[in-house]
Amino acid sequence: MFRRLPDLADTASVTLTVDGEAITARASDTVAAALLAAGHAACRETAVSNSARGPYCLMGVCFDCLVSIDGLGNRQGCLVRVRDGMRVETQRGKRVAGR
């Protein structure tokens, strides 16, 4: 669905995992951008009705890109820069307090 702009083609890349599967992203990506570029349009299920949602506003407002990052739930993927070795997980339903 999304294609990279050609002008940033030679940026350094990092590797992170999404639900255990390795994906490659650019070092300048946010988690939300990396997910979209890797084809993960849906990154969570809502807390009450468990319907699928994905990154939308990409500027910290809509809270639809919530994911679990390195074991901590409800992180806004669009506000977090990717890091090598980062563990991102789809958030299914409500987060668990303390995790």
């Binding site: 807390a47 409800n74 668990v96 307090a97």
Partner: protein, 368 residues
């Protein structure tokens, strides 16, 4: 529209519950309401259906609260059958938690008096057993008072369910109808709102803090004042609080509400960092896990408070047919208002049981 049998003035939880009950008793009802900018405790409350701590010094109020708590499950079922809306009423019993032995002892003393006065069922649960019921309590929690009659509900959904049901029951809901004047001519009330005039033989004032001014128009003294409460809400989390605590509860959808501050601030419903910070700090001491959750909302709302904290239910002596119903527990008492009070207003009037709720109790003659 044909002139109503009853005009209910105030469309919050108290007015909606009463209008629902009046319509159920076969009355043609008009429900006059303000607009979205009204001070509306019904949208800002804590949503407990609470019994412990209610009515010390007024056995009638303790009894009334308990009657409502007992009627709540049936009331919620009826609303669900009528509207398809589940107001998430639960009655697992509830706690007030103590962060020191001294606090626990004071709580016990209060509840013992309430038990002696009104047969309130409760028990003091010490830390070891409390850990089995509320596993996430912090190290400072020494124990709590548990009352099996306590519960909670989803109050925004309660207001929506009532309004959905009101529409189905043919109640004429009139938003943006703040009342300017009420006249009484030959046994008929003439209610004036903007350019509109409604004539009706019976009115019920349910406008919360607005009742003070409306009461003056029909010979009712309604000494209520706003008392601010602030609330902090977290993001939705998987269920971990098995019981509502008087200052902390997890809603059916997973968000945790923290609150219960009291401030005399007039008609000012803004939040302040100091109070919000204290609420959060105490809550985290009770449940350290809360510290990991993000706060997504804070708000303040104005309680409708009398001097003694008890409700006022009264019919006007000088303007028979004009009633007032006002309290600060619109959620807890919703079932009683809908199922017990409304039929009385629809019929002959309040029974002798309601004498104690008259505002006359505030008119103490000066000592000789």
């Amino acid at each position: 529209m044909a002139e109503p049998d009853v005009a209910v003035i105030g469309g919050g939880l108290v007015g909606s519950a009463i209008a629902w009950g009046l319509a159920g008793a076969g009355k043609r009802v008009a429900l006059l309401d303000e607009g979205d900018i009204a001070f509306r405790a019904s949208r800002g409350n804590f949503a407990l259906v609470w019994v412990q701590s209610k009515g010390l010094g007024m056995p009638e109020y303790a009894r009334w609260t308990r009657a409502s708590s007992d009627a709540w499950a049936g009331f919620a079922r009826e609303l669900r059958e009528e509207t398809g809306i589940d107001v998430a009423h639960q009655r697992p019993g509830g706690f007030s938690l103590a962060l020191s032995e001294d606090e626990l002892e004071r709580r016990d003393t209060t509840l013992k008096r309430l038990h002696n006065q009104s047969d309130l069922p409760y028990e003091i649960v010490h830390r070891a057993r409390l850990l089995k019921m509320l596993p996430d309590i912090g190290p400072e929690v020494v124990g709590g008072a548990y009352c099996p009659l306590d519960g909670h509900a989803n109050s925004p959904r309660l207001l929506r369910a009532l309004h959905t049901a009101l529409k189905q029951r043919g109640v004429s809901y009139l938003p943006e109808h703040s009342v300017d004047a009420i006249e009484h001519r030959g046994g008929v009330f003439v209610v004036k709102s903007g350019t509109r005039t409604i004539e009706t033989p019976r009115i019920v004032l349910t406008a919360g803090n607005g009742n003070r001014k409306l009461g003056e128009m029909v010979g009712l003294d309604v000494p209520v004042r706003p008392q601010r409460g602030q609330i902090v809400i977290t993001e939705k989390a998987a269920p971990f609080l098995n019981y509502p605590v008087v200052t902390i509860r997890q809603t059916d959808e997973g968000g945790v509400m923290m609150g219960d501050s009291l401030e005399e601030a007039g008609f000012d419903d803004r939040v302040g960092l100091g109070v919000v910070g204290t609420i959060a700090e105490r809550a985290v001491r009770m449940f350290p896990l809360l510290g990991s959750l993000n706060v997504v909302r804070t708000w303040a709302a104005l309680r409708v408070m009398t001097q003694d904290g008890f409700p006022i239910y009264e019919e006007s002596k000088s303007h028979p047919g004009a009633f007032v119903a006002t309290c600060h527990s619109g959620v807890t008492l919703a079932a009683a208002h809908a199922k017990l009070l409304a039929p009385l207003i629809a019929g002959g009037g309040l029974s002798d049981d309601f004498t104690a709720f008259s505002a006359k109790r505030f008119h103490v003659p000066p000592a000789a």
